[in-house]
């Protein structure tokens, strides 16, 4: 039988899915043992025990200085920033995506500009951002928004343009004004895509968050990673990176679920 037609059973599927992760862990373990045999205080690939130690220290022992559980305080700080930035970026994407997608005049005005600014490397403009917005939360949130919103807007514009022209015509024959068509025909149909667009940008959003926290912060997952990087404390960095990855993957899945729940008709469309 052709390999293309071979389908693994449920169990095989599960085992296969776990395999690469298992291999990664094993490779790490071996690498760690080898390096530690050479230099027992090597910090690059700490032993699993050291990782557990570090997790214990960061997550389940109160910090002597602040009395906080640093891991959780960092997580809260980062998620707060991320959540706010994603919310703002989503709102911007929605408004501009619809305006640019629906109205030829606004499209002519903004589409080329959007294409250009989505290519500006935001990290290079940080000084401007700081001076305009200060070093506080605002500038961190803004960096993330600037980093992801233009791409989300462009994605949504394409989505609006993908709506069958027939639908917009039909809506007009039903007496819909531009505004009404926007909120009753276009908006509900692009919302699911907005969620998908957000999912696609999660990785970038984390990236910008970490970059922002590396530049100036006193808490946050990215702050901690860059702080302890100074001492090559990979025993802290690895759990933090794994945790960030986990959070991102969970957010990804959660957003997908949200879309299915809130917009059941998107799934019906696929079934046919």
């Amino acid at each position: 039988m052709r390999f293309i037609n071979l389908k693994p059973s449920r169990t095989t599927q599960l085992m296969l899915a776990v395999l690469p992760f298992a291999l990664l862990v094993i490779a790490y373990g071996v690498g760690s043992v080898v390096r530690l045999a050479e230099n027992p205080s090597d910090k690059l690939l700490p032993a699993f025990a050291s990782l557990v130690d570090a997790i214990n220290r960061m997550a389940f022992t109160a910090d002597v200085r602040s009395g906080e559980y640093l891991f959780w305080a960092d997580t809260l700080a980062s998620l707060g920033r991320l959540g706010m930035a994603l919310g703002i970026a989503t709102a911007i994407a929605l408004v501009f995506g619809m305006l640019v997608g629906m109205f030829p005049y606004i499209r002519a005005l903004l589409a080329p500009f959007l294409a250009a600014i989505s290519m500006v490397p935001p990290l290079a403009l940080l000084p401007i951002l700081f001076i305009a917005l200060g070093l506080g939360e605002t500038s961190k949130v803004t960096l993330i928004v600037i980093g992801i919103a233009p791409i989300m807007v462009r994605d949504l514009v394409l989505r609006v343009l993908d709506l069958p022209r027939e639908q917009l015509i039909k809506a007009q024959t039903l007496g819909g004004s531009s505004w009404q068509i926007g909120i009753r025909v276009v908006l509900p149909q692009i919302l699911p895509r907005l969620i998908d667009g957000l999912r696609l940008q999660l990785g970038s959003a984390w990236l910008f968050l970490i970059a922002a926290e590396a530049i100036s912060a006193d808490s946050g997952l990215g702050y901690r990673i860059f702080l302890v990087r100074r001492y090559l404390s990979m025993d802290v960095i690895f759990p933090y990176v794994a945790w960030i990855t986990l959070l991102a993957v969970v957010a990804n899945v959660a957003l997908d679920l949200l879309r299915r729940r809130v917009f059941p008709w998107t799934e019906l469309g696929k079934a046919t």
Binding site: Q167, K170, T173, L174, G175, W179, Q180, W265, L268
Partner: protein, 281 residues
């Protein structure tokens, strides 16, 4: 009455339609036939106001057509005529929502209940009772087209434009919907213009069958010459909306009506179906 006066339509270099002149009487049911790509859809777009003629003009009761779609002209396309994100009931109600609520685009509770009753009646009319809460994707193709009809009819349009509305349905379902279509046309104050590929459908439903054709169809001529009216056939015995029994049987056709600007020629391809075998050219 819709009057089309010497209309041309060009897209850039390409001439799609040329010298179209035509009067469509009130409550007529016009079937538009012609080979693929000859500009039937383009003509419908002109009537709809989605496109403007490059030359010539179109009037409705003497007034120039609004240059964009309006509720007086309803439309049903072959596909994408209903909104996938709305339930059947909401699909029919959306026209009322638009006219009743300029800002929210959705009626308030009380007025919506009243409108919903009307919508339910229309849904029943097109035979979709019991499906009010389903989404279009849960309906068959035929049911979706019925829904599109109900959705258009709630606006009580003067003119109903149909672009191959039943082209994707199977024959059994199509026969059912033909019966429905005839009834609606009879009972509603409606002028219908329908594009179809199916000669039988054209002659089953229409009071008048109009054929478009490109007189010069050689590849070299495709750009420079557009399609024009090649025949205009009044169906005989004449059907009159609200008068004749819509299911009166054997159809045949008379010689072209007086307003036929072109010499009548038969349809481009003979349909193999027996009813047309005896068609006069």
């Amino acid at each position: 009455m819709i009057r089309v006066e010497n209309v041309w339509k060009e897209y850039g270099e390409q001439v799609v339609l040329e010298r179209i002149s035509l009067d469509i009487a009130d409550r007529a049911f016009v079937a538009l036939v012609g080979p693929s790509g000859c500009g039937k859809t383009t003509f419908l777009k002109l009537l709809l106001g989605e496109e403007q003629p490059s030359e010539g003009r179109i009037t409705l009761d003497g007034q120039p057509l609004a240059p964009e779609p309006t509720p007086e002209r309803g439309v049903v396309f072959q596909r994408y005529s209903v909104f996938p994100h709305l339930s059947v009931l909401d699909n029919v109600l959306i026209g009322r929502d638009f006219s009743g609520s300029p800002f929210r685009g959705r009626l308030g509770r009380v007025s919506r209940r009243a409108a919903a009753d009307e919508a339910r009646a229309l849904i029943a009319e097109v035979g979709l009772s019991g499906n009010e809460d389903k989404y279009p994707a849960q309906l068959s193709g035929g049911m979706q087209q019925r829904l599109a009809l109900a959705q258009a009819l709630i606006m009580r349009p003067r003119v109903l434009l149909l672009d191959e509305p039943f082209g994707a349905l199977d024959p059994g379902i199509r026969a059912d919907i033909h019966v429905l279509m005839k009834r609606l046309w009879n009972e509603t104050d409606l002028t219908v213009v329908m594009v179809t590929h199916d000669m039988r459908e054209a002659f089953t439903l229409a009071t008048r069958v109009i054929a478009f054709e490109r007189p010069r169809n050689a590849p070299a001529d495709r750009v420079r010459y557009g399609a024009s009216l090649s025949s205009d056939i009044a169906v005989w015995p004449p059907r009159v909306a609200g008068l004749t029994d819509p299911d009166s049987t054997p159809y045949t056709f008379a010689s072209p009506g007086g307003d036929d600007p072109a010499q009548a020629t038969g349809p481009r391809r003979d349909d193999p179906a027996p009813p047309l075998a005896g068609a006069k050219p």
